[in-house]
Amino acid sequence: MNAATLASPMPRSAVRTDFGRLLGWAAVYFTLFVFVLFFLGPLFVMITTSLKSIEEIRLGTLIGIPRHPTIQPWIDAWSNACVGVDCTGLSPFFLNTIYLVVPATLIPTAIGALNGYALTQVNFRGQNIVYAIILFGCFTPYQAILIPLAQTLGKLGLAGTINGLILAHVVYGLPFTTMFFRNFFISVPSDLAKAARIDGAGFFQTFRYVMLPMSLPIMVVVIIWQFTSIWNDFLFGVAFTSGRNVPIMVALNNIVSSSTGERPYNIDMASAMLAALPTLLVYVFAGKYFVRGLMAGSVKG
């Protein structure tokens, strides 16, 4: 490089690109930031509103920080918010949902693991058809099964009960859990099962001692997926349970839409936060697994 080129002024186009690049970066960060505000906004408003007194809500603004923060709305939401004349707060329904979510998560997960193993590690005729039949269950339009399921639960004497709701979540969870485990086990080389077999391990032993330990990550994904969908479910809850038996989201909707006198917006927001907390905590502490389930649950058939 000689002195002449060094001394010559920077070409015009280079200046323009540098400026353009800077502008581009600014646009990128600005857009990303605006959307951060957009996504956090509702959460921020819910939390601040839930910490205000009703007077402060009426006099202040939507986005104002609580000047005299109080946790009273949270206490009310938990133990004495009313649905009609029934003022029990969310707590009994929270417990209902825990009673519901444990078996309705564990049973389909266990069966799904076995199904996934049987669908991939053993070759038998009709395998793909069996899988296709089960797979379509993931896309069941729930409107099309509400009436027969309500009839069936009635016949079984489970109408309006949490046990009926457990049954519903178990049977409609099976296609998903099977799909998750099948898609996991299909990438496990079949030599592994063959080797175990040659070593004298039986079908169930191979599952228990070779496959199950390996499937731990996907099991976490499935449990989280199943837990979140049941915790957040509204349709099954509202269709198959009633009164004191409803799960949390139905109870929340009842509390928020039961209109007697002036709306206690602070208690409404505290109730919504309480109901959202378990799945939010799962997201915060196991976000990786949650997202993996989300992607696998909808992207892949």
Partner: protein, 304 residues
């Protein structure tokens, strides 16, 4: 037992791994056949009767469907579905894609930003509906906020305006799903070879041009999946409408799903509800079956 015997004995067949696989799969298979396929058929049967509060198995042909398509409320629900689905999908795809491309520029705090975009997916639609209902409430929400800032004539009353209520559902649904769409696109972008960018750069192409004419065409399958997923999600949206507008004002923001629920469980019009459920199911099948077919074919091709 002789291993030389070309014909396996019955006992061997029964204790073989394939039989055990069948044994494991049979309960799920039978349950699925019953509660998915059987129940859908059952609903079809109910839709051909005149059932009201209880199923009554008298065959009346397609009367319920004729009645359904003549009902104003159903027409509104169907129109709303297309408005909702097209806007919701359009907005989510555009914003999700732009955010994914921006996030893919090696920005700082990428993980934090991504987590913030995605957290609404962990929240239930009921909670989302409640949060937006509060913010959209004209008396104390955004309208009041802007008016208090001095814009006294500002009007943002979509929630109580029958012509606009459906757009509040678009807004809330977009808020919930946009980050998810971003995540799918981001995963797609991460799959694009970095060498490709370098090569295009050397050829003198600018970034916007590289994205527009090279990267986006490569993402075609991702677009396809995203649109199917969102369309399916729009079709089954129910909770969000219940908690945000409950189909109101009047029934101006009804969707087929809320229509179905109202007629079946609210009004005791079982057969009419079943007919609407069958319409929803047919739409879902028309979308999902070709999608699954192409996915499975794709998987087979990759397996080879």
């Amino acid at each position: 037992m002789t291993t030389n015997n070309p014909r396996a004995t019955i006992r061997e067949i029964l204790t073989g791994w394939p039989s055990k696989s069948w044994l494991v799969l049979l309960p799920t298979l039978l349950v699925t056949l019953l509660v998915v396929y059987g129940y859908i058929l059952w609903t079809v049967v109910v839709s051909l009767t005149s059932s009201r509060f209880f199923p009554k198995y008298d065959f009346v042909g397609i009367e319920q469907y004729a009645k359904l398509w003549k009902a104003d409320r159903w027409q509104i629900a169907v129109d709303n579905l297309w408005i909702f689905a097209s806007l919701f999908i359009g907005l989510s795809v555009v914003a999700g894609l732009v955010l994914a491309i921006f996030l893919d520029q090696k920005v700082r705090l990428e993980n934090v930003i991504r987590s913030i975009y995605l957290y609404p997916m962990a929240i239930s639609f009921i909670v989302t509906g409640i949060a937006w209902k509060w913010m959209l409430n004209p008396g104390l929400g955004i309208q009041k906020l802007v008016r208090d800032m001095g814009y006294v004539d500002f009007k943002f009353d979509w929630l109580i305006n029958p012509k606009m209520a459906i757009y509040t559902i678009v807004l809330a649904a977009f808020w919930q799903s946009c980050g998810f769409v971003m995540a799918i696109f981001l995963a797609g972008l991460r799959g694009v070879d970095a060498e490709l960018f370098k090569a295009a750069r050397i050829d003198g192409a600018g970034l916007p041009r590289i994205y527009w004419s090279i990267v986006l065409p490569m993402l075609r399958p991702v677009f396809f999946s995203v649109i199917v997923i969102l369309l399916y999600q729009a079709l089954r949206s129910f909770d969000l409408i219940v908690s945000l507008t409950n189909g109101g004002p009047g029934f101006s923001s009804d969707l087929p799903t809320t229509f179905m629920y109202q007629y079946t469980f609210g009004r005791g019009q079982l057969a009419q509800g079943a007919a609407s459920a069958v319409m929803i199911t047919m739409t879902v099948i028309a979308i999902i079956v070709p999608y699954l077919y192409s996915e499975i074919r794709h998987e087979r091709r990759n397996a080879r």
